[in-house]
Amino acid sequence: MARQSVHIVGASLAGLRAAETLRRSGFEGPVVLIGDEPHRPYDRPPLSKQFLAGDWERDRLALSPEDRFSALELEVRLGVQASGFDLQTRTLRTSAGDETVDGLLIATGARCRSLPGSEHMAGVHVLRSLDDAETLRAELAAGPRRVVVVGAGFIGAEVAATCRGRGIEVSMIEALSAPLARVLGEEMGAVSAEVHREQGVDLRCGVGVDGLDADSNGRVCAVRLSDGSTIDADVVVVGIGVVPNTEWLVGSGLELDDGVVCDSTLSAGPGVVAAGDVARWPNQRFGETMRVEHWDNAVEQGVYAARRLLADDDAELEPFSPVPWFWSDQYQIKIQMAGRIRADDQMEIVTGSVEERRFAALYGRAGRLVGVLGFNRPRHVMHYKTLIHDGASFDEALAASL
């Protein structure tokens, strides 16, 4: 039976791209877009970069120009929180009331982990939403003596880079032996560490945070580390990962396990699909069940999930099995990575050099090309991404001339 209407819960990148895809596919029924933030869909990557730096204002963040957004003819409900769903009765519960839904697309994303005990301490921030970014930006504009960044993942590293760009002293604390060691491997993590130190970041790796100290006004003033040292801090930014927003689906009849569990076509149940940071699915290309928090994944899944929802539940679809890809801009370096790498993969630099901060490195496992990392090498990353997609062997990739 053809789809009558679609409810999209989550009004960020995946949800918007899904809505666009529904319309582009010719779906004319009601499309309801529900978001818990008061803002229209906006782009998050600039929040830690141009927006935090003070170079961009919020009007530059819109994900869809106003005329194109209106042309989608969505029923947009902003500032509305989804609180429950029942697969049997197809009841969606929200802060604006209950309703019965036909097609449901779950794109509720993820939220930042907080540092236990610091949740309500003034001067301690996470960075995920526009409101987070505005608050943090105001703190940076007030001229803090030192910002301490907890966690040297992408958000932490980008915040550190932006702070240095604003001339603010930065310490960055990382529990692993190097920044991004789990994503880039040990050796490239060390390169990332060098970059931060060259830029004047006081980077401390292999050390945890024992706790935060507050002054008599209840505002953070110091970070205590597991090696016994203490760093004075006017502002603390916590970037220690995210948790998928699935609590509202507990008891819904959908399977939850660090995300909404989907099949290889992003279907989570009859007439229910998931997309973006919240979706966990088996990526058959890599023989691995994954949940991917990258921007490009949210776009691709939003598009795919919308098409999935328009097809019959028992339709045979090509599985969703992309080569994950992301970028991160830190200082003057564009880091890009495609594929799935592990710490023990073979790694070889194929063009440029680490010293000039301009290179591409290939990662191989069991004779296959599984990943490519580029520092300021977008052309190479995309070529090798295509080779990963085509199932090239590691030797073929090494021999490929660009």
Binding site: P45, V299, W327, K334, P378, R379, M382
Partner: protein
């Protein structure tokens, strides 16, 4: 159909090149070049994908 790139926004992430290498090319100077500004109407779906997946939202389609 006309494809327009805002080069003030473009940062040569090269996603468009992966989708449509006959239309977009990032060269070794790290700049994006548009090889065909007027793709055929039948190519619209692929061009829309480039618009949606550009991380800098630098691509627009003018009818």
């Amino acid at each position: 159909m006309k494809v327009v790139v805002d080069f003030d926004l473009c940062e040569s992430n090269a996603i468009c090149m992966q989708i449509a290498p006959d239309v977009f090319e990032v060269r070794d100077d790290d700049f994006l070049y548009v090889l065909n500004e007027n793709p055929d109407e039948g190519d619209r779906a692929r061009m829309e994908e480039c618009v949606q997946r550009c991380p800098k939202q630098a691509i627009t389609i003018e009818d």
